[in-house]
Symmetry: C2
Subunit: 229 residues, 2 copies
């Protein structure tokens, strides 16, 4: 399951489920079930480490290697989940910087980025099998992890401004954050970001922002809590 930020909205990559064939990084099932959208996925050959397998797939699919973030989400299993041979699905969650436009589709069913907020609207995609549940779990995981890990940087390019980082939180949480306070909070969290001493190119009015890259922290102390209740 791939998450990214596009036009200030948190988006998930879905594959149209209505024709046979496969794309470079996805092996959707043959069109036995109802039409709809599903998550890209495939099968493990059996004797490979799960994390390594997922990383290899992700790299093959997107070309992204060093950047972003990839982690295991959860394992879904049991009967009545999809018409494939009974078994379990180990879902992985990837967070990536804005990929170049719609993803490549050499041949086979089309894929596109869907804003997660559109999933439950009439115009949104209908997810087949238990994939809606997986997407909900993944989005909730990402939203939660933004609070206490430096995950937000995975949604940014290697060099980013604090406004870029703030927009990740705003998009994922659907809130507006106060820029001055956000800046102080991030800079006061040790090893969250590292200043590069350079500035971004100005773009249409406004003072150019300083550039940062991700720091070495694996957890945020203190966490950056979302205003709840």
């Amino acid at each position: 399951m791939l998450l990214t930020l596009r036009s200030g909205r948190l988006c998930v990559l879905l594959i149209q489920h209505d024709q046979p064939g496969s794309v470079a990084w996805a092996e959707p099932v043959a069109p036995a079930g109802p039409a709809g959208w599903l998550l890209p996925g495939g099968f493990v050959d059996g004797d490979e480490d799960l994390d390594a397998h997922a990383a290899r797939r992700l790299a093959a699919a997107t070309g992204v290697t060093g950047t972003g973030h990839l982690e295991q989400l959860r394992t879904y299993g049991g009967p009545h989940r999809d018409p494939r041979p009974a078994g379990v699905s180990v879902a992985y969650l990837a967070m990536l910087a804005n990929l170049p436009q719609p993803p490549p589709r050499p041949h086979g069913p089309g894929g596109r980025w869907w804003p997660v907020e559109d999933l439950d609207t009439p115009d949104g995609p209908a997810l087949v099998f238990d994939h809606r549940r997986i997407v909900v779990d993944g989005v909730e995981r990402a939203r939660g992890k933004l609070e206490y890990t430096p995950l937000a940087a995975a949604f940014c390019e290697d060099e980013f401004t604090l406004a870029d980082l703030r927009r990740v939180y705003e998009a994922a949480w659907g809130v507006a954050l106060d820029p001055p306070n956000f800046r102080r909070k991030v800079l006061s969290t040790p090893d969250f970001v590292v200043p590069l001493g350079r500035r971004a190119l100005p773009r249409g009015g406004g003072r150019p922002a300083e550039l940062y890259r991700r720091g070495a922290a694996t957890a945020l102390h203190p966490p950056l809590l979302r205003r709840s209740v």
Copy 2:
């Protein structure tokens, strides 16, 4: 993977791995590898929901049904993890109130509760395969979830005092908490605990404590953060 609190210490249930046979709730592998300790586990028959399967196993193993907490931890897979036929292991994590003494062992290899703090000491158990990694992951998951979920109540009996609850945090985190402040924090978190209006039996000096049961909250707002840094 079963966690509980025994004598104020966080403990994990391990099975001795040195003789064939099986116990009611565990099916350890035949003694092909080195001697040591492993987590109880078994095999899924294929067509059952993973969560339901884990819950059924847990109930069969301990007799515990309504209380405690059970959740999926992570899936571990790939080669070189253990001599069993290649495949993946879906680890589940259960948190339970103090079970009656060492767990039952009708026949087969022995099991016992090990304090997690002893795992890396010379006197501690040597874990085989990748089970040490699983235990570390599970303990860390439990420690983290105490902060932002009402998980601590799962380690207590159905009716408990705030001191019982506090001792869960103290054991899991290895810190001492200030009883007055802990009390205020818990009571000010909506739906964390519900007062019963009764008191526990006094036990050897000291004022009897009020009794509580778990509330309906699924997440703590605000979280009960451990003092870090």
